[in-house]
Symmetry: D2
Subunit: 470 residues, 4 copies
C-alpha cells in the first residue's frame, strides 16, 4: 500500500522487457525491495518478478527470454514495502485471468477504504491472496458490468485514496491517476509507441519524448488508434504530495510541470528568506537536500560548502526498515570534512525531519568534528500528522513533530537553532496554492475521507500536543 | 499442476516453522524449485516462500521470525514445476483471505477438469493469478454454502483428477486425498499434535509416530478435539500411482502400507522371474534402481555389483528441465567401475525408460569401458501413454515406449537385450491388484475422465503404434 | 599439509583448462575447500584459483579465458584443509618465478621434516608465505645446482614424509611420488598427450587410457620426446595408505593395481570370515561402506539390505571441520528404513571408527527406529595411533581407539557387539603384505622417521592404553 | 603495482580487526577488487583476505574470529588491480615467515626498478609467487644484514618509484613513504594506540586524532615506547601525485596539509581565472568535479546548478576495466536535468580527461537533452604522458591528450569550447610549487629514473605529437 513504488507501462515498442529494465533502473529509487516485468505480444502474457533490486532480479538471460516471443507491450514495477507487507504475494506486477479480460496491473499509493472494499468484495465471493491494491482493482474490474473502460471507470469511483495504476491488456494499456493526483504519473512518446511512468526520468532514460502528466481523475488509454483520454472524476484542485518534491522524486524528473531539482532549490531560497541565520558555512545534507542548500545559500548570501560527503558504498537510510540499522547507516555513510567544520559555525540544511534520529546523530558527529555552532534549517514544514496516503512516516509514535514543539525538537536533536520552512513559504516556493497540494502531514487536513483510519485519527486527538507551528 | 510436490501440515506443535523446515528437508526430493511455510497462532497468519531449495529459501533467522509469535500450526510445501509454470505466483503454500475463512493451502497433483472449473469460476466472478490447484480450491470453497467442512466436501466433489490438499485454518487443519488416492498422504502423532505429509519419511525426520495413510476420498480433520475422519467420496478401489513405488518416493517411506524400498526390491525379484538373463554382473543404476537390482540378483541367483558410482557433487537428472542438460548430467554423474565392466557381460537394472536418452548414454559409456554385452532390465512396464495425473512424462512426443516396440527401443538404446517387467508382474510384486493402482501410462486406461485432455488423447489414437507389450 | 588433496597434470592436450575442469570434478571428493588450475602455452603461464568447489570457482567464462592463448599443458588441484590452514595463501596450484625456472606446482601429502627444512631454507634466505609443501619444494628446487631434473632429484631426497607433486614447466611436466608411495598417483594417455592424476577416475572422466601407476620413488617426466622415468630413490617396499582403499578414493579408481570397490568388497568378505554374527539384515553405512557390506553379507551368507538411505541434499560429514556440525549432519543425512529395522536384529557394516561420534548417533537413531539388536562390524582395524602422513585424524585426543579397548568402544557407542577387521585380515583382503602398506594408525609403526612429531609421539607413550587388539 | 590501493595499520588498539574493517570501509574508494586484514597478538599472526569489497570479504563472524585471541595490532588493505594482475596471489596484506622476522606487509605504488630487483633477488635464490611490491620488500628485508630497522632502511634505498608500506611485526608497526612522497600516508592517535592510513578519512572513521603526515623518505615506527621517526632518505622536495587532489582521494581527507575538497574548490577558482566562459549554467560532473565546479562558478560569478544527477545504484566508471562497460556506465549513471539544459548554454566542469570517451558520451547526452552550447572546463592540465607511478592511465595509446591538441580533443569530444587548467595554475591553486609535486603526466618530466620503462618511453618519443599546451 506504499506510496514510493514506481509504476511503468510501455505500449507498442520493440523489446519491451529490455526497455522496461532500463526504465525501472531509472525508477529504482522509488522501491528497492522487489521488481517485476510482464509483457504481452497481443496473445499471451509472460512475466518474471522477485525480491531484489532491478539488476538482481533480472539478468540478461531473463530479459531476453521475456522478449523472445516478440512482445510489444510491458508493465513493470519497483516496490518499496514496510516490513509487514514484505511477502512474495505482494510483488508486482500482478497478472489476472478472467473470462472477460486477462490483464497485468501495477500500482502505487494507498487505498483508504481498502478494508471496506475488501470486505464487500469478499461478501460477493472474492478471495484475497495479498494486501495489494492491484488485487482490489482486479476484483472490482471483473465485477463491474459492461465493457472494460466503463468497468474501470466505475471501479475507480469506488476507491478513496492515493493511487496510480498501469493496466496492460493484450492490446491496450491504461494509465490511471487518482482524482486528487497525489502521486506523479506522466507519459511520453517513443517511436511509434508510448511510455508511462511514475517519473519523467524513466522517459529520459529511454530517450522518449515527454508528452504530459496524466491528470488527476484521468484515464489515458493507449491502443492501436493512438492515445485517448477518459475521465472518471471531474477536473478539480489536485493534492499532489509535497514530499515528492521535497524528498522522493529524482531531481531530474519533472512533476506536474515543475522540475524537482528546481523545486528544491526554490524551497531553499524561500527558507533563507524566512529564517536565514549567519554562519561560516551553509552545508547541505546529501543527497536530497543539496539543491535546497544551494538555494538557501544563494538567497541568504552565505557561503556554501559540500561539508558532508556521502560514502559511495552504502545505501539510503530512510528506506531501511529498523531503527537500529538507521543509526549505523548514518555513521557509515556521511563523512564531515573536518577543515570546513572544525571551529566553524555551520548551518545544516536538510529536507525534512521525521523521527529526528538521523539529524541528531548527524549533529553529534559534526560537533565531534569541532563545529562551534550547528544551526539546522529544514526546507519543509514541521510534520505533525501521520500520512495515510503512502509516505512511510505513518507510525505516529515516531513522528517527533507530532510530539514536540520546534523548541522541543531543537533540544532533542541538539541544534543551536532550528527552523522549518512555513507551509505558505513552501507553496510559494513551488508556485502552488495550498488548494493544489496535500498538506495533510503539516496540517492534519486530509484531502479525502480517512475511512479505515478514522478511529485511529480520533484516538490521536486526545494525545497530541496543542502547539501549532504556523 | 505437477505431481511430485511435497505437502506438509503440522497441527498443535511447538515451533512449527522449525519443524516444518526439517520435515520439508526430508521431502526435498519431491520438489526443488521452490519452498514455503505458513504458520498461524490461532489469530493471524505468517508465511515466507521463494524459489530455491529448502535450505536456500530459509535461514535460521527466517525460521525464528516465523516462530516468534508462538504459532502452533503450519503448512509447508516443496514444489517441482515444469518450465512454463515456474513463476512466482505459483509458489506454495498460498494464503487466502475471505470473510468466511482465512486459510493457507498447499497441494500437489493435477486437476483434469481445471479448465472447466476455472471457466465456471471466472463466470461467477473469480479471477486467477496463478495456474495452481490451490487457487481453484480456494474459490470453490468460498463459493460453496454452509460451514467450512460441507463446503470443502462439496468443492472436492467437483474436482476430477489426482490431488492432495493440506488446508490450515486458524484452529484447524484438513488433510485431503483424492477419491482414487493417486498420490500418497499420511499422518502421524507428534507429542500432543499431529503431522501430515506426502511421505512418512517426513514423520520419521521429526520423530513422529506414524498413525496411518489418509484414505482415498477422505478428509482428515485435526482440531482441538483431536482427529476426525470425514468422507467426501465413497470407499472404492484406489489408483495409487505406481511411479511412487518405482521412482518418486523415498525408499524409507511407507506408502499405503508398503515400504518403498521393499516394493522396489520385490519388483526386481519379479523381473528376474520373468526375464533373467545370464551375465557376469548385475548392476543397478543409482539411486532409485539399486533396490530393484538387489532383488533381481537375489532372485536370479546372479552376482550383484555396484558397478556404477554416482558422483556426490551433482543433482538428479530426471528433474532438470532441458534435454541438453540431461545429457551432460549423465556423463558428469555416473561413473562406471572399469574392472567390473571391462570384458564383462553386464545386466543394467533400471527403474524405467521415459525418453530413452539417459539409458542410451549410459550404455554407450559402459561399452566404452569395455563391456562385452550389455543387457537391460527395467523394473517396470513399458510406458505407452502420457500421464495426465502429474508425472512429468506427459509430453507424448518424448515417450519412446509410445513410438517404438521393445525391439525398437532395444535398437535405439543399443542394448544386447532388453526386457520390461510386465504389468501383472509389477502388481504381483507390490501385492496389489490392477484395480488398486493407476496403470494409465502402461495401458492408456485412465482411472478418471480426462476432460481437458480428451481432444489430445483422441488426436493420439491415430498416431500411435499398434504393438502392445502384454 | 593434508593428504586428501587431489593433484592433476595435463601434458600436450588441447583446451587443457577445460579438461582440467572435468578431471578436477572427478577428483572433487579429495578436497572441497579450494580449487585451482594453471596452464601454459610454452611461453607464459596463466592461472586462477579460489575457495570453493570446482564448479563454484570456475564458470565457463573463466575456463575459456584460461584456454584462450592456446595452452597445451595444465596443472590443477582440489584441496582439503583443516581449519587452521584454510587461508588464501595455501590455495594451490602455486606458481613460482625464478631466473632458472618458472613453474607451477601442486601437491598433496605431509612433509614430516617440514620444520627443519623450513628453518634451513629460511637460514639461507628463503621466506615463506604459506604452510604449503609446494613452497618448500620451490625453494629447494632453486637452491639446488645443476639442471632442473637433478635439482628435483636432490630436493626430493631431502624430504621425509608422504607426498605427490605435479610440476609444470613451460614445456615439461613432472609427476613425483614419494619413496614409500603413501598416496596414489597414476598417468594415462590422451590423444598425443598425457594425464597425471591422484586417481584413475580422473583419467576415465577424460576418456584417457590408463598407462600405469607412478612408482614410489619415481619421477615421471613428460616432454616433447614422450615419457621418461627417473628415479630419485631406490625401489623398495611401499607403504600405500590403507585408508585410500578403505575410505578416501573413489570406488571406480584403481590404486596400485587394485580397484577400490573390489578392495572394499574383499575387506567385507574377510571381515565376515573373522567375525560374522547372525542377524536379520546386514546393512552398510552409505556410501563408503556399502561395498564392504556386500562382501560381508556374501561371505557370511546373510541377507543384505539397504537399510540406511542417504539424503541426496546434504554433504559428507567426515569432511566438515567442527564436532557440532558433524552431529547435526548425521541426523540430517542418513535415514533408516523403518520396516527393515523395526523389531529386527541388524548388523551395521562401516568402514572405520575415528571419533566414534557418528556411529554412536547412528546406533541411537537405529534403536529409535525399533532395532532389537545392533551389531557393528568395521571393515578395517581399530585405529590406535595418530596419522602424520595426512589423514585428518591426527588429533590424538579424538581417536577413540587410542583411548579405549574394543569393549570400551562398544559400550561407548552402544552396540550389542563390535568387531574390527584384523590387520592381517585387511592385508589378506587386499592381497598385500604388511611390508607393502602403511599400518601406522593401527600399529604405531611409522614407515618413516617422524621428525617434527617425535616429541609429540613420546609424550603419548605415557598416556596411551596398554591394550592391543591383535 | 597500482597506485590507488589503500593501506592501513593499527598499533596497540582493542579489537583491531573490527577497527580495521571500519577503516578499510572508509578507504574502499582506493580499491574495490580485494580486501584483507592480518592481526597479531604479539605471538602469532592471523589473517583473512579475498576478492571483493570490504563488506563482501568480511562478515561479522570473520571479524570476530580475527579478534578472538586478543590481538592488538593489524594491517589491512584494499586493492585496485588491472585485469592482468587480478590473481589470488596478489591479494594483500601478505604474510611472510622467516627466521629473522615474521611480518605482514601491505603496500601501494609502483616500483620502477621492479624487474631489476626481481632479477637480482632471483639470482640470489629468491623465488616469486606474485607481482606484488610486498614480495620484493620481503625478500630484500631478509637479505639485508643487521637488525630489522637497518635492513628496512637499506632495502628501501634500493627501491625506485612510488610506494607506501605498512609493515607489522609481532610488536612493532612501521609506516613508510617513498622519498618523493608520491602517495599520501598519515597517522593519528587512537586511545593509547595509533592508526596509519593512506588517507585521513580512515582516521576520522575511527574517531582517531590526526597527528601528521608521514614525510617523504621517512619511516615511522610504532612500538611499546611510542612513536619514533627514522629517515632512509634525506629531506627533499616531494612529488606528491596531483591526481590525489584532483581525483583519487576522498574530499574529507587532508593530504600533506591540504584538504582535498578545498584543493578541488581552489582549482576550480583558478580555472575560472584562466578560462572562464559565459554561459547560463555551470554544471559539475559528479562526484569528483563538484567542488571544482563550485569554485569555478564562485570565481567566475556564474550561476551554478547541479544539472547532472548521479544514479545511486551504479558504480564508478573509471575503475571498471573494459572500454565497453565504461560506455554503458556513463549512460546508466549520469542523468541530466532537462529543464536546466534544454535550450541553455552550459559549462561542464570535470576533473580530468583521460581517454575522452566518458566526456564525449556525456556531451552527446547533454546535447540530446537540448543544450544549445556545451563548454568544457577541466580542472587539471592536459595529460600528455603515461604515468609509471601507479595511476591506471598508463596505457599510452588510450591517452587522448598524448595524441591530440586541445583543439583536436575539443573536436573529438564535440564541445563548443574546451580549456584545461594550466600547470602553473594548478600549482598556484594548491599552494605548491612545481618542485613539490609530480607533474609527469603533464610534462613527461619524471621525478625518478624510469628503469623498466625507459625503452618504452624512448619508443614513444618518435610517435608523440609535437604540440605542447603550455
Amino acid at each position: 500500500m506504499n506510496h514510493e513504488c514506481g509504476v511503468l507501462g510501455l505500449y507498442n515498442v520493440q523489446k519491451p522487457a529490455n526497455k522496461a529494465y532500463n526504465a525501472l533502473y531509472a525508477l529504482q529509487h522509488r522501491g528497492q525491495e522487489s521488481a517485476g516485468i510482464f509483457v504481452t505480444n497481443g496473445e499471451s502474457f509472460q512475466g518474471y518478478k522477485n525480491f531484489g533490486l532491478v539488476r538482481q532480479v533480472f539478468d540478461e538471460e531473463a530479459i531476453d527470454r521475456l522478449d523472445q516471443n516478440e512482445p510489444r507491450h510491458a508493465v513493470g514495477h519497483v516496490r518499496y514495502a514496510g516490513a509487514k507487507d514484505n511477502i512474495v504475494s505482494n510483488i508486482q506486477p500482478m497478472f489476472f485471468r478472467h473470462l472477460r479480460a486477462e490483464f497485468a496491473i501495477c500500482s502505487n499509493g494507498s487505498i483508504l477504504n481498502y478494508d471496506k472494499l475488501n470486505h464487500d468484495l469478499q461478501n460477493q465471493g472474492s478471495i484475497f491472496q495479498s494486501t495489494s491494491n492491484c488485487e482490489i482493482m482486479a476484483h472490482l474490474l471483473v465485477r463491474n458490468s459492461g465493457t472494460f473502460l466503463p468497468a474501470l471507470q466505475e471501479s475507480l469511483n469506488t476507491l478513496v485514496g492515493s493511487y496510480c495504476f498501469v493496466i496492460m491488456r493484450k492490446n491496450r494499456l491504461y494509465a490511471v491517476r487518482d482524482p486528487k493526483g497525489f502521486m506523479p504519473l506522466c507519459y511520453g512518446k517513443l517511436g511509434d509507441g508510448y511510455v508511462v511512468a511514475s517519473e519523467s526520468c524513466a522517459l529520459d532514460m529511454l530517450g522518449a519524448e515527454f508528452v504530459r502528466d496524466v491528470e488527476p481523475g484521468e484515464i489515458v488509454e493507449f491502443n492501436k488508434d493512438g492515445v485517448r483520454s477518459h475521465r472518471f472524476a471531474p477536473k478539480q484542485a489536485g493534492a499532489i504530495c509535497l514530499m515528492e518534491y521535497i524528498y522522493f522524486a529524482r531531481p531530474d524528473s519533472t512533476v506536474d510541470g515543475l522540475n524537482v531539482h528546481q523545486a528544491r532549490y526554490q524551497t531553499g531560497m524561500e527558507l533563507a528568506r524566512e529564517s536565514a541565520v549567519d554562519c561560516d558555512w551553509v552545508i547541505g545534507v546529501p543527497d536530497s537536500a543539496l539543491a535546497a542548500a544551494q538555494g538557501y545559500a544563494q538567497a541568504a548570501g552565505l557561503p556554501l560548502q559540500s561539508g558532508l560527503i556521502k560514502n559511495k558504498y552504502s545505501g539510503r537510510s530512510f528506506i531501511e526498515p529498523t531503527n537500529q540499522k538507521r543509526r549505523l547507516a548514518v555513521q557509515m555513510k556521511l563523512s564531515p570534512i573536518r577543515y570546513l567544520i572544525d571551529g566553524k559555525s555551520v548551518t545544516l540544511v536538510d529536507d525534512s525531519i521525521v523521527r529526528g534520529t538521523t539529524v541528531r546523530q548527524l549533529i553529534k558527529m559534526v560537533r565531534e568534528f569541532g563545529a562551534r555552532e550547528v544551526h539546522v534549517r529544514i526546507a519543509s514544514p514541521k510534520m505533525i500528522g501521520p500520512c495515510f496516503y503512502g509516505v512511510d512516516s505513518s507510525d505516529y509514535n515516531d513522528l517527533i513533530g507530532a510530539k514536540k514543539s520546534i523548541e522541543g525538537i531543537r533540544e532533542e536533536i541538539g541544534a543551536d537553532s532550528l527552523a522549518f520552512l512555513s507551509l505558505p513559504g513552501l507553496c510559494k516556493a513551488l508556485g502552488l496554492s495550498q488548494d493544489q497540494v496535500c498538506t495533510a502531514c503539516y496540517t492534519e487536513k486530509y484531502p479525502t475521507d480517512l475511512h479505515d483510519f478514522e478511529d485511529f485519527v480520533q484516538s490521536l486527538e486526545v494525545k497530541k500536543v496543542p502547539e501549532r507551528w504556523y
